[in-house]
């Protein structure tokens, strides 16, 4: 049996039913025999009871809160889930759907940004010549006189056709004959006051229009376009001429070609 000191060491645990069976028995025996410890224990128990009762007995109607909580959790799921429920879509179907969306988007987006077909080698040759001529602007074979250029162009044009002297901000500055794989072209260079340039190549129309990376229509004309070495190279032909226009940006190259076709 415990003495008073040992009993009071364990009295909290005894009150809370946390003691093992052996010490519980010792405390119980002591409380039975010691009036002072028993009184102390009864006081603790009364205080505990009063505290518990006063906290548990609130003037508060719990029913509405309980109903609200049930409605917001279990009730909501029970009512709404069937309305919202739909067949569970397998992950592979979702993945396939995503791939299809990306593929369809690419079909609309990529043609304007990427080469979808391999262009005719002439586009490569035109771009290479344009780069070379631009770097070689001081060469002696350049013709800078407008009448001489027009005279030179006559062999590539019919009587009704001319070489445009300008288009937009671009002005004709020089020209010379170049040769692509044994075929002569008149290479005409246009420049703006700001230093931008565009090239026009005029040759004799061949058996078929060299195919670019994609086709484009502008002003009722059917054009071929390829992007080579950072240049936009447009191509078109009329009854006797095969025309290429090259420029760093699409708009300038297209404008050069249309100006030549309409002149």
């Amino acid at each position: 049996m415990f003495d008073c000191r040992r009993t009071r060491e364990f009295i909290d645990l005894y009150l809370d039913n946390e003691l093992e069976s052996v010490p519980t028995k010792h405390v119980a025996e002591h409380l039975e025999q010691c009036a002072e410890c028993r009184r102390e224990f009864e006081l603790m128990r009364s205080q505990n009871q009063l505290l518990a009762d006063s906290i548990k007995n609130q003037k508060y109607d719990i029913r509405k809160l309980a109903a609200d909580i049930e409605a917001a959790t279990v009730g909501k799921a029970a009512i709404r889930l069937p309305e919202l429920s739909r067949p569970r879509i397998p992950m592979w179907v979702l993945a396939l759907g995503c791939i299809l969306i990306v593929a369809v988007s690419a079909l609309f987006y990529l043609p304007g940004k990427m080469s979808l077909a391999k262009a005719h080698p002439l586009y490569q040759a035109v771009a290479a010549d344009d780069r070379a001529c631009f770097a070689d602007s001081a060469a002696s074979d350049w013709i800078r006189s407008q009448p001489t250029i027009n005279e030179l162009a006559t062999s590539f044009l019919n009587q009704k056709q001319n070489i445009p002297g300008s288009f937009g901000e671009y002005r004709l500055v020089r020209a010379r004959i170049c040769n692509f794989d044994g075929v002569n072209f008149l290479h005409v260079i246009y420049e703006t006051a700001g230093g931008r340039h565009a090239s026009l190549f005029i040759g004799h129309s061949g058996a078929s229009l060299p195919r670019g990376e994609r086709s484009k229509s502008a002003n009722g004309r059917s054009l071929q376009l390829a992007h080579v070495s950072g240049l936009a190279v447009f191509c078109a032909e009329d009854d006797i001429r095969l025309l290429f226009a090259a420029a760093p940006d699409d708009d300038a190259a297209q404008a050069a070609l249309l100006a030549a076709l309409n002149s």
Binding site: R8, D16, Q49, K56, I69, A72
Partner: protein, 181 residues
């Protein structure tokens, strides 16, 4: 949130039978820990929404009540902060309880006033053990502390409570402990 909570019928039934039955217990404690009745209601509702959200993580066989109290205490700490003012004790349904301790004539108001003077951690541990009659282990889980901490807090809370109640026997208790009768 509930719209996307895919609970099986069995899980909903379990939530209803195991968790929703503790609304009253949680509310009683929240009223003693929050500054107003509205805050207490908010805290209990938030507790249940969290419980509903994470119901799948609740381990069957453990104490759901202890788990809910753990969430409640976290919600109160996060959203409402430590409150020093509780819901007025006039709201107690005095007719339903014994109004005083026969041995000392301390009435319910004195006990509650002393309770409200306790620190938050002492109030929490008393609420769990003395009011909710949880085991120390359950209380330790609810508070997120070791069992030893529960015991020491409980002991200090009770000593403090008796001191504020002007319990002279507290002195005699200490004396008895010292003398080793």
């Amino acid at each position: 949130m509930p719209l996307f909570n895919r609970m099986s019928r069995r899980q909903r039934e379990e939530f209803k039978s195991q968790a929703l039955v503790h609304v009253a217990a949680l509310m009683c404690s929240a009223l003693r820990l929050c500054g107003s009745r509205e805050s207490a209601e908010d805290a209990v509702q938030e507790t249940y929404l969290q419980a509903w959200k994470y119901w799948k993580t609740f381990k069957p066989g453990t104490s759901c009540r202890a788990w809910l109290f753990r969430i409640l205490f976290n919600v109160i700490k996060k959203k409402h902060g430590a409150q020093t003012k509780q819901v007025p004790i006039e709201d107690i349904a005095i007719d339903n309880i014994i109004r005083f301790i026969p041995e000392t004539q301390h009435d319910v108001y004195e006990v509650l006033e002393a309770f409200e003077r306790l620190s938050e951690e002492h109030r929490e541990v008393l609420l769990l053990v003395a009011v909710e009659e949880m085991t120390y282990k359950e209380a330790a889980f609810s508070l997120g502390v070791p069992v030893g901490t529960v015991m020491s807090r409980l002991n200090r809370a009770r000593i403090q409570l008796r001191r504020w109640l002007g319990r002279t026997e507290h002195k005699s208790l200490a004396d008895a402990a010292g003398k080793g009768q």
